[in-house]
C-alpha cells in the first residue's frame, strides 16, 4: 500500500511518567489508534488513526493522556490550510465523497449571539419564578380561526389534536440505526418523564420503545422504513420528513453493516441490506402532492394526531413553509444549515441551506402577514446550544425547538464528527455491542432530564426577568429582542430593532 499523504489531525501526547501501561486506552479506542504490544505490554499510539473523540483521555486512570488538535502543518497559507489539503489528500486516495457527522463546523455567523433579550427595569416589575407560577407549557398543532361558545359558555369549537409540552424543547429526529438503542432509549424515557417528546427519525420504532409511543413523533420519510398502521397508531404525532438541515435535497443511506438483526426488525428490511432513502418522496412532486400525503396520514390515524412536515431551511423556505401550512400541516419543522446528522457529505453539510434564525424570522413574518400563522405550529432545529438560544427562537416566532446535538452531548458525545463510521467510542452512534454497553440508559435518562430541567429553570428566570409569567407572552414578541453587528437587511428579515433603539 502506498504511503498515505493525509496529514494527521491530532497529537496524542502520553506522559511517560504518569502512564502505568494499564492498557485502558487500547481497549477504549475503537479506531485502532491506541495499541498495546503483546510481547512487552508497552502502549503506543498511531496518531494518524486518532479521531479526537477524547475517550482514552477521559478514561485514563492516571491522566497521562492528552489529545490535541495539531497546529497548521507546513508553511502557513490562509486559503490552503491543513484542513483543505487534508480533504484533497483523502479524496485523491479514495475517489469518494467526503463524509462527516454532526452539524456544520464552519464559523458561520451565529445570529443567536447577535441578539439580546430584554429585561424589566423600574417601569414594569420583573417576576421571581421561584415564588410565582411560571408557565413553559406549550401546545403544538393547528389552532382554530376563532372559538365559539354556547349560551352556557361551553366551547362549541372543536380543537385540532395538540401535542402538550411541559417545556418547548423536543428531542430531534435520530433514528435507531444511526444511534444505538441505549441512546434511543435514553431519549424516549427522558422525554416521557420530562413531559416532552422524542422523534424516532425515519428508522422505525424499536419494540422496546413502543411503550413510549405516546411521547413519540414518528417519521415517515421517503424510504418509509418500519411504517405500518400500527407504527402510525402508536405515536403522538406523525412527521413527514422532506428534508434535513445537514443534507438538504439529498437522500439518506444506512450501510448494510449497520443493519443488525434488531435494526432490520425495526426498519422492516432484510438484515445486512442497505437502507436507502431516496432524495425525494416519489409521491410528492408538488404542494398538492404533499397535501395528499398529509391527508393520507390524517385518514390513516383517524384525524387524531397532528401531522408535521419537516423541511430543511433553504433559499425559498418561505413559500415552501407557507405551502406546507396551506396543505394542512399542523406543525412545520424547519432545520437550518447548522443542523446535525449521523452521516452526510461534508460539502452538503457545510454549504447547502441557510441559517435557521433568518428562515424562522422570515417564515413567521410571512405566515402572520398571510393570516395563517395560527394554522400550524413552528418547530425549529439546527444548532440550539442553550436555553438562551431557545428563548430567542421563541421570541422570533418559534413554538418549540428540536435539539439533537445538545442532547447527544448531554449523553456524552465529544463531537469528533465520526458518527458515520459506526465506531462511536461513547456508545451513542454505533451498533457494536462492545461499544453500546458504554452508554447506560439509566444514567442517560438522568442526564437528559437534568439538561431539560436546567434549561427550564433558566428559561423561567429569563421570562420572569422580562416581566412575563408564560412562554406564550414571548412567542413572536420581537420587541423583546435587539440586534447588534447586523446589516439593516438582516435586522429587517429578523424583524428586530438594533440595540439602542
Amino acid at each position: 500500500m502506498p504511503l498515505s499523504l493525509i496529514p494527521a489531525e491530532f497529537n496524542v501526547q502520553r506522559d511517560a511518567d504518569l502512564c502505568i501501561e494499564c492498557g485502558v486506552c487500547t481497549r477504549q479506542c475503537a479506531h485502532g489508534c491506541q495499541n498495546i504490544d503483546p510481547e512487552d505490554g508497552s502502549v503506543s499510539s498511531d496518531e494518524k488513526l486518532c479521531v479526537g473523540c477524547q475517550r482514552c483521555v477521559t478514561l485514563c486512570p492516571t491522566g497521562a493522556l492528552q489529545v490535541v488538535q495539531r497546529a497548521e502543518q507546513g508553511r502557513y497559507h490562509a486559503v490552503w490550510n491543513t484542513g483543505a489539503r487534508r480533504a484533497i489528500a483523502r479524496q485523491a486516495e479514495s475517489g469518494g465523497m467526503l463524509l462527516t457527522g454532526m452539524g456544520a463546523d464552519k464559523p458561520f455567523p451565529l445570529y443567536w449571539d447577535r441578539l439580546f433579550l430584554n429585561a424589566s427595569q423600574v417601569t414594569n416589575p420583573s417576576i421571581d419564578p421561584l415564588r410565582e407560577p411560571m408557565e413553559l407549557r406549550t401546545f403544538l398543532g393547528a389552532k382554530p380561526d376563532k372559538i365559539e361558545f354556547d349560551q352556557q359558555g361551553k366551547p362549541l369549537t372543536k380543537l385540532s389534536p395538540q401535542l402538550e409540552l411541559e417545556i418547548p424543547v423536543i428531542f430531534s429526529a435520530m433514528s435507531y440505526g444511526s444511534i444505538s438503542l441505549s441512546a434511543a432509549m435514553s431519549l424516549a424515557r427522558a422525554a416521557a418523564e420530562s413531559g416532552t417528546y422524542f422523534n424516532t427519525g425515519e428508522g422505525g420504532l424499536h419494540r422496546s420503545l413502543a411503550q413510549y409511543g405516546s411521547n413519540a413523533i414518528v417519521q415517515v420519510a421517503s424510504g418509509r422504513f418500519g411504517v405500518t398502521p400500527a407504527y402510525l397508531e402508536n405515536s403522538a404525532a406523525v412527521e413527514i420528513k422532506i428534508g434535513q438541515g445537514a443534507k438538504p435535497g439529498i437522500g439518506g443511506h444506512l450501510p448494510g453493516e449497520k443493519v443488525s438483526a434488531d435494526v432490520s426488525a425495526t426498519r422492516m428490511i432484510p438484515q445486512g441490506a442497505d437502507a436507502i432513502s431516496p432524495a425525494p418522496h416519489h409521491d410528492i412532486y408538488s404542494i398538492e402532492d404533499l397535501k395528499q400525503l398529509i391527508y393520507a396520514l390524517k385518514e390513516a390515524t383517524g384525524y387524531s394526531k397532528p401531522i408535521s412536515v419537516k423541511i430543511a431551511a433553504v433559499h425559498n423556505v418561505v413559500p415552501i413553509a407557507s405551502g406546507a401550512v396551506r396543505a394542512g400541516a399542523d406543525i412545520v419543522a424547519m432545520d437550518g444549515v447548522r443542523g446535525g446528522s449521523g452521516a452526510t457529505p461534508t460539502m452538503i453539510r457545510d454549504n447547502v441551506g441557510i441559517p435557521i434564525e433568518l428562515a424562522l424570522g422570515a417564515v413567521d413574518a410571512q405566515l402572520r402577514k398571510d393570516g395563517i400563522r395560527h394554522r400550524a405550529s413552528l418547530v425549529v432545529a439546527g444548532g440550539f446550544r442553550n436555553s438562551a438560544d431557545v428563548m430567542k427562537a421563541i421570541a422570533l416566532g418559534a413554538d418549540a425547538v428540536y435539539i439533537g446535538t445538545a442532547a447527544l452531548i448531554g449523553l456524552g458525545c465529544h463531537m469528533c464528527q465520526k458518527c458515520y463510521t459506526g465506531k462511536c467510542t461513547w456508545g451513542i452512534a454505533t451498533q457494536d455491542p462492545y461499544l453500546t454497553k458504554r452508554l447506560n440508559p439509566e444514567i442517560g435518562v438522568r442526564r437528559l432530564k437534568n439538561l431539560l430541567r436546567a434549561w427550564g429553570l433558566e428559561m423561567k428566570e429569563m421570562l420572569g426577568g422580562m416581566g412575563m409569567n408564560s412562554i406564550d407572552s414571548l412567542r413572536g414578541n420581537r420587541e423583546m429582542l435587539r440586534g447588534i453587528d447586523m446589516t439593516e437587511q438582516e435586522l429587517e428579515i429578523l424583524g428586530v430593532l438594533p440595540a439602542g433603539r
Binding site: 463524509l99 405500518t228 398502521p229 450501510p255 432490520s264 395528499q292
Partner: protein, 244 residues
C-alpha cells in the same frame, strides 16, 4: 354493508367504513364512487371492499389486510406504503402505484403509469407483488429493494415498449419479470437482464394463478410466451461512493 358514496367526502366515507369494521362488519360494497381518495387507507383488518366506480388517489395507502376489488380503472398512488392485502384493478392504474410497498398484492389488468413499484421492499415473509397486465411507463421499479414486479404486455401493440425509460434504476433488491423484452436503452443503470430459470417459471406460474383467476385470464396462455428477468447487479449500489 352497502354504502352509496354519492356526495360523500373521503373523511365521512372512511369513518363509516371504520365504524362498521369496529362493529364487526367484514363486507363492503361501495357504489357510485367517483374520485374519492384514501379508500381503505390505514385499515389493518382483513375485510372485503368492492368498489363500483373510480376510486381516487391513495387507494389502499398504508393498508394492511383488506381485499379491495375495483370495477374499472384507478388513479394515482394506489397501494402507497401498503403492508398487506390485495387490490384488484380490472382497468388501468395511474402513476406511483405501489410506492414503497412492503407486502400484499396489486393486480392490474391493463396498463400502469409512471414511477410504479418505486422502492418496493420485502421483509421476512412479506413479499409485495405487483402484476401489470399491459405495460408500464418510465421509472418502473426504481430503487426497488425487494418483492416482485411482473409486467405481462398483454394486448400491447408491437413496437410499444413494455416498460419506459430508467426501468429499475437504483434497484438493489427484488426482481422484475417482463413477458417480452424491455428495450436495452430503457434498462436503468445497475440492472442486469437474465433469462428465467425453471424455478422462476414455477414461481411465475404460481404467482400468476390467482391473478388470472381474479381477472378471468388463462395462466397457460400467459406462460406460453418467454419472460425476461431484471435484477440488481449489486445489493450495495452506494458502497463505493464515500471516502471514510
Amino acid at each position: 354493508m352497502r354504502i352509496d358514496a354519492t356526495g360523500l367526502d373521503h373523511r365521512t366515507l372512511n369513518e363509516q367504513i371504520k365504524t362498521a369494521i369496529a362493529a364487526g362488519e367484514t363486507e363492503f360494497d361501495l357504489a357510485n364512487v367517483c374520485g374519492t381518495r384514501y379508500i381503505g387507507c390505514g385499515i389493518d383488518q382483513e375485510v372485503d371492499i368492492r368498489i363500483e366506480g373510480i376510486p381516487g388517489n391513495d387507494l389502499a395507502a398504508f393498508m394492511s389486510g383488506p381485499r379491495i376489488h375495483c370495477s374499472g380503472s384507478v388513479q394515482d398512488s394506489v397501494a402507497n406504503t401498503m403492508n398487506g392485502g390485495l387490490v384488484v384493478v380490472p382497468g388501468h392504474a395511474g402513476d406511483v402505484l405501489g410506492y414503497s410497498m412492503r407486502g400484499g398484492r396489486v393486480y392490474v389488468r391493463e396498463n400502469a403509469g409512471y414511477r410504479i413499484g418505486i422502492h418496493m421492499k420485502s421483509y421476512l415473509n412479506q413479499e409485495p407483488t405487483i402484476i401489470i397486465g399491459g405495460r408500464a411507463k418510465d421509472f418502473a421499479g426504481e430503487y426497488m429493494a425487494g418483492g416482485k414486479l411482473i409486467i405481462l404486455g398483454l394486448d400491447t401493440p408491437s413496437g410499444e415498449p413494455l416498460a419506459g425509460r430508467y426501468c429499475g434504476s437504483g434497484m438493489h433488491g427484488g426482481a422484475m419479470y417482463v413477458r417480452g423484452e424491455v428495450p436495452e436503452a430503457h434498462i436503468g443503470k445497475g440492472v442486469s437482464v437474465e433469462e428465467i430459470t425453471a424455478e422462476d417459471q414455477e414461481m411465475l406460474r404460481a404467482t400468476l394463478k390467482p391473478y388470472c383467476e381474479a381477472l378471468g385470464l388463462g395462466v397457460e396462455e400467459i406462460m406460453g410466451a418467454p419472460f425476461q428477468k431484471l435484477r440488481a447487479t449489486s445489493t450495495r449500489p452506494h458502497g463505493q461512493l464515500y471516502a471514510y
